[in-house]
């Protein structure tokens, strides 16, 4: 059976969940996890699976945050992107004459992708008469055999003859600094757009490097609503993204040794409600190896299910990557404690960690009694 077919079986009857830029960017969050790689590769709706298992993910977005994001984006784009033009002029020296604005969405939803291609092609062909701002473009990228459609906020052109991805985010830049994890997430997401746009240019026979690796990040400045733009170099994120996409197309290795009929299907009824017995789904998932780490709690829909599994196994992964690494090859809590208090003899190769743990245990005992 070919791998693509195997992945379809894994997913079951539901159509694959489309990847958006955020989901693609998240592929790099824990590449060592086979369970996640298979679920993502097959396009399984992890959120639905986790809920059905009784372990809904702890994520949620406040309506206040959503409103704030929408209001801010509207502000940046208001009046022919007046704010954006100001920032591009200040930040990148955009010439005053460059103001042409194209709303790709004018053509209607189903033509957006084709229209984006046409406009970008025209811009790349004749940079002198090309537009400057392309609003609501729709790009695409192949992910594990499926096309993912991506919606960058704005694509800007005519900055030194190069395309720039504009990413609008509503977290604040205060005195020149922003939350580094928020910036990182924005950079990872923007890298997906850069790659998609480069792919498009290549398909059209243009130089993909016409897309700059510097993306324009637009955020509110300080405590006002006034937007401010910063350049963010996403070369690193691009490199990571390329690696992950290569991995996605090489899932065969992970499929080896799994039963041919293994599936994560939720067997939805006519109303879309899953009917598969929970225990059965859980068993199917446990056939694949997860690599739980506490970081998953903020990045993966399956986190509570995998944490529960790690608890049942008494895995030291629960305590974090660093503790796990420190313990060398000892993976279970009971084993580590056994080595520490001497009730368990070290297996071959465990002599050192056993010595270290015994030493630590001796010191703790000495100090606490």
């Amino acid at each position: 059976m070919n791998p693509q077919h195997r992945l379809d079986v894994l997913r079951g009857v539901t159509p694959p969940r489309p990847h958006d830029a955020r989901a693609i960017a998240a592929l790099a969050a824990n590449p060592g996890c086979a369970r996640r790689a298979l679920m993502d590769g097959a396009g399984v709706d992890k959120d639905a699976a986790a809920r059905h298992l009784g372990f809904p993910a702890p994520f949620g977005q406040s309506p206040f945050a959503i409103t704030r994001g929408n209001v801010f984006e509207a502000l940046v784009k208001a009046d022919g992107c007046a704010e954006l033009l100001r920032m591009l002029r200040e930040l990148l020296g955009l010439p005053v004459a460059e103001v042409a604005y194209h709303d790709v969405e004018n053509v209607g939803a189903h033509l957006r992708h084709a229209h984006t291609r046409t406009l970008i092609d025209r811009a790349a062909r004749d940079e002198h008469d090309a537009g400057t701002l392309y609003d609501h473009p729709l790009l695409s990228l192949e992910i594990a055999g499926h096309t993912a459609y991506l919606e960058p906020d704005v694509v800007a052109f005519q900055l030194g003859g190069r395309f720039h991805i504009v990413e609008i985010k509503s977290f604040a830049v205060i005195d020149g600094q922003a939350d580094p994890s928020a910036v990182a997430a924005a950079a990872r997401q923007a890298a997906v757009y850069v790659l998609a746009l480069r792919t498009l240019l290549e398909e059209l026979g243009h130089d993909p490097l016409k897309v700059s690796h510097d993306v324009v990040l637009v955020c509110p400045e300080n405590f006002a609503n006034r937007p401010v733009a910063s350049l963010v170099d996403v070369r690193r994120q691009l490199a990571v993204l390329r690696r992950q996409l290569t991995r996605m197309s090489a899932l065969d290795r992970l499929l080896e040794g799994l039963p041919d009929d293994l599936t994560f299907d939720l067997r939805p009824d006519d109303d879309g409600r899953p009917t598969r017995p929970v225990a059965e789904l859980a068993d199917a998932l446990r056939r694949t190896t997860a690599r739980y780490a506490p970081d998953c709690l903020s990045t993966c829909d399956m986190c509570f299910f995998c944490r529960d599994e790690a608890r049942q196994e008494g895995a030291s992964d629960l305590l974090g990557r660093q503790v796990r690494d420190e313990l060398g090859g000892v993976a279970s809590v009971a084993e580590a404690l056994g080595l520490a208090d001497g009730t368990r003899d070290p297996a071959a190769g465990q002599e050192e960690i056993a010595r270290l743990l015994r030493n630590a245990e001796r010191l703790r005992k000495e100090c606490l009694t």
């Binding site: 020149g176 910063s230 990557r321 960690i353």
Partner: protein, 425 residues
């Protein structure tokens, strides 16, 4: 065609009076010290006093010895802190005086001290300064001494380890004067027009190593080896016994690189098997009477020409305790910076790790370890590093306004590993 090394040095000297600051990037073994000595003599010849700043006492002593050896007519003052005991060889040098105060030194052509010592000096301004290992110097140190000179030559290796602090410095990130950035980064952010030269040729790294190190750690600038294939030879006088260790040494002697791969296993940092392997390699290298021949002639590889490098201090302690011949230098990457040996034996920072941290992936660390040798480098590692890199999550935070540093540690590690895999034993 890029300029040859001699031309670069001439360009540097010519730029000195034209700019307030001149920066010279020097990849490993590219003649940084030679340049410093030449520039020192060049400036001294104008009759104007010169101050030289280095980062450690060893570096200062080394420069004093080199300058005095090459230009015996120059008077050199070696300024030192109270507890410092100068090595005997230095006290015997003509024209060299050692003291803890400027007044003790007479009025020499050149005054040399560490950046820490210079920070205590005041009340005088030198027309010229040379700052050595400027990429390893934290910018707050430069801030303390920059008032002492009018113009300066900054020399250093951008590929090595960045300065660090024990406290969290996020509050300064993005500032052009972030005190945790290197002296050169801060200098160039405030003075972007200063000329930056690059020494193009490594005299240390052999033809087998320069392309590997250049590709992995200097992807945009690059450098080449000053010698060609066959100019450097490493021969083992006595025959081997076919053990993996002997075969690794033979591979290294033949090709300049060897990877002694141990079975894949997650271990504690002081992995006994790996530590033992490193110690054994060091011992066997001496036993087998290695002889190095190069453009400098033929000489036996004695213990002082061999170094063992590791990432952590506890690993260094474990390796020392495992019976490495006492004259062999065993140290961390931090402390091996700027040093040179014929053969190095390296415990790979990622060996036996299950998860790589930013510390382990820092490209400068591997760069230092992989670029100390004139002839050969033997790396000891457990199998599985490729998988570990593959599984490495990337969620590095991004600070606004901080230039991205290249090369990326992941890419550099991958590049070196790929090369090593061709020399696996």
């Amino acid at each position: 065609m890029t300029a040859g090394p001699e031309q670069v040095i001439r360009n540097v000297l010519a730029d000195l009076p034209r700019h307030r600051g001149v920066v010279v990037d020097s990849p490993p073994g590219a003649g940084k010290s030679t340049l410093v000595v030449r520039a020192a003599a060049h400036i001294a010849a104008t009759g104007e006093p010169l101050m030289i700043v280095a980062q450690t006492n060893e570096q200062v002593d080394d420069l004093v010895t080199r300058i005095s050896g090459k230009h015996a007519h120059l008077t050199v003052g070696r300024l030192s802190a109270g507890g410092y005991v100068p090595p005997l060889r230095m006290l015997e040098l003509p024209g060299v005086r050692v003291g803890t105060r400027i007044q003790d030194l007479g009025d020499p052509d050149i005054v040399i001290a560490t950046a820490d010592k210079w920070a205590w000096i005041g009340g005088r301004v030198w027309p010229w300064a040379i700052v050595d290992e400027a990429y390893q110097m934290r910018s707050d140190k430069l801030l303390r001494i920059a008032g002492l000179f009018e113009r300066a030559l900054f020399v250093g290796d951008p590929g090595q380890l960045d300065p660090f602090s024990i406290v969290d410095g996020d509050r300064w990130s993005g500032l052009s004067w972030d005190p945790l950035q290197s002296a050169v980064s801060v200098l160039l952010r405030h003075n972007p027009d200063l000329p930056v030269h690059r020494l193009p040729v490594s005299w240390r790294l052999p033809a087998s190593a320069a392309p590997v190190v250049s590709r992995a750690f200097y992807p945009f600038t690059g450098f080449r080896s000053g010698t060609s294939d066959g100019d450097r030879r490493l021969e083992l006088a006595t025959g081997g016994m076919g053990t993996p260790h002997d075969r690794a040494l033979e591979e290294a002697a033949r090709s300049g690189w060897a990877l002694l791969e141990l079975p894949n296993r997650h271990t504690v940092r002081t992995d006994a098997e790996a530590v033992q392997a490193v110690a054994l390699l060091a011992g066997r290298l001496l036993q087998r009477g290695a002889v190095a021949s190069s453009e400098q002639g033929e000489r036996p590889v004695t213990a002082d020409r061999v170094a063992v490098g590791a990432a952590h201090r506890d690993q260094v302690a474990a390796i020392r305790a495992a019976g490495v011949p006492p004259q062999i230098t065993v140290d961390t990457a931090n402390r091996l910076q700027g040093r040179e040996y014929d053969v190095t034996i390296v415990l790979h920072p990622l060996s036996g790790r299950r998860d790589a941290t930013a510390f382990h992936l820092e490209s400068g660390r591997l760069c230092v370890l992989a670029s100390r040798h004139r002839h050969a480098c033997v790396v000891v590692a457990r199998a599985g590093i490729a998988e570990l890199l593959d599984a490495h999550p990337s969620a590095e935070p991004v600070q606004l306004g901080v230039p991205v540093k290249f090369p990326d540690g992941w890419e550099a590690n991958q590049s070196v590993l790929e090369h090593l895999s061709r020399h696996r034993v």
